[in-house]
Symmetry: C3
Subunit: 241 residues, 3 copies
Amino acid sequence: MGIYVLVHGSWHDGAAWNSTIRELEHRREKAFAPTVAGHGKGVGKDVNHADCTKSIVDFIVEKGLSDVVLLGHSFGGTIISKVVEAIPDRIKRLVYLNGFVLADGHSLTDEVPPFYTALFDRLSQESGDNTVMMPFPIWREAFMNDADLAMAKWTYAQLSPEPYQPTKDKLDLKKFYKLETPRSYINCTEDAALPQGEWGWHPRMSSRLGLFRLVQMPGGHEVIYTNPKGLAEKIIEAGRD
Amino acid sequence: MGIYVLVHGSWHDGAAWNSTIRELEHRREKAFAPTVAGHGKGVGKDVNHADCTKSIVDFIVEKGLSDVVLLGHSFGGTIISKVVEAIPDRIKRLVYLNGFVLADGHSLTDEVPPFYTALFDRLSQESGDNTVMMPFPIWREAFMNDADLAMAKWTYAQLSPEPYQPTKDKLDLKKFYKLETPRSYINCTEDAALPQGEWGWHPRMSSRLGLFRLVQMPGGHEVIYTNPKGLAEKIIEAGRD
Amino acid sequence: MGIYVLVHGSWHDGAAWNSTIRELEHRREKAFAPTVAGHGKGVGKDVNHADCTKSIVDFIVEKGLSDVVLLGHSFGGTIISKVVEAIPDRIKRLVYLNGFVLADGHSLTDEVPPFYTALFDRLSQESGDNTVMMPFPIWREAFMNDADLAMAKWTYAQLSPEPYQPTKDKLDLKKFYKLETPRSYINCTEDAALPQGEWGWHPRMSSRLGLFRLVQMPGGHEVIYTNPKGLAEKIIEAGRD
């Protein structure tokens, strides 16, 4: 039995993993999906990246978890890279699910195409509370490309505004890049949340991991919704020894 | 029920879509496959790109079609980009099936590898009527890589010489690049009609579409023949709201 | 009925093909898997690339084989490129299975990422007999990414030290690059033995073949172990006329 801690991406909270956790439990795995600080509906959004990281570190420590397969989806990739710096002895393996593997000293917004940064800068300024809400047309076309309109709308209703500061914070990752924790990268082959090619997830992000295990599956950026069964199987392939 | 207008590529005529249309009709969709001017067997080949575009515009207008999902395969991608400039109000969505998305001011032959342009230039000069016939070895290896020899031969017999002028005409696409018509790109993952990589279909062509919906399926450049059932399903995924 | 000669890669011997040959024979194909000179357990390792090539040429000539579909896996790609120079009239088609297609004048180690060359140089110096053994962590993560740990361990036990000289020999491939023998490339989509992208198998290696037939299948570098049934089907697709 593996112990999985699943860290969601931007606009999500821990409930995004509900179906995937059910599938993992069917396969006799144990999985947790804490909500990152400043994420979810009806909570304060005034957090920075260190607050986000601390909320996951605290969760793992308070639960007393060890031998953890720590998975980060999208923005969650930036979190797990810092969590493993803080508590390396509790982490058995890192798994990035189309997750950001930032270069040392970079912020997330340093690593997305300029049209995204320009859009998010504008939306955060207009928000009044330094948050960014995902525009529906981008969600429907670039994130939910493998879903029908009903699912695109239903999942959109689960989202909440993303605190912008954590994606602007530049991260010191020198310790991360010295760690030898085993690591895997799950790449969804139709994921176009980052445009494929020059700005894509794989191999741009994955290749920074050095020796890593590549796992691929069909689907877009949100297989947590569109294919939780297939995702659970790939999480196990990515997380096993 | 969606309304699909399917625009074939070079060497083909509208009959290339017969099996795909049958599959779409089984799924209660309505689909049309007009033959582009100057294409097919036994017709005059003295046409330019504007003639090709006009033949599809006329078809849609004369049939009184609106809310059209307009799909272009390969060379057909250059046609649909100009058709939507002429009758934007009738087009609900554009779908490129490994289709050319030309840069503004370019011709199709500006965007294929030099060995293709050199070959096609020579074949057109030798033709006597400024047409290019696809050589069978290229058809069999690079276009029909997912078929057996019998299917490669049978489909080759359906082809006819391609008028060369439409692929040499440089297209003004300024209006196209200002339109906000929703758009999708279907990429067949074994399509090597354009060599994969630097000169490939995706993401080179697709990324020019700005925000678009990526759909992928297995198969080579001619899934219209090798997998019409799978293609029909992907056309619906690409074309739905 | 096709005649297949299957040339294994580094660390392997002919027995690596046992399951694949069984699957080919179920499909009424005839297949041979000679062991390359200097490969396998308990044999002398003092060979160069010419010795390796000669051992396969001799096998084909002594068996009196013709109309051969000659397949090379990984390092085996460098062998088949030289074998076809020696006996072009016996070879009907070349098939590279994530195989090296070297540039004229290059050695295999000229075409792998610097971290591999540095590692292999060091391991060969430490070996005492100019061989390189694959380290298990690389085997498990980068070669057997699609296997469980038990299969990774079992297959590792089949390996033997690789003679290093054949991978350092620079190959004159001028004749190879003039031959017009039909050729195919089978790319396993999760193969990360060479890191995907800039240093990857496809399209970097495959594009050097000029006109070739692309065939893809899921799996990592060692589908000979992880999916011999699927591999046999793809070998037939790649090898047929």
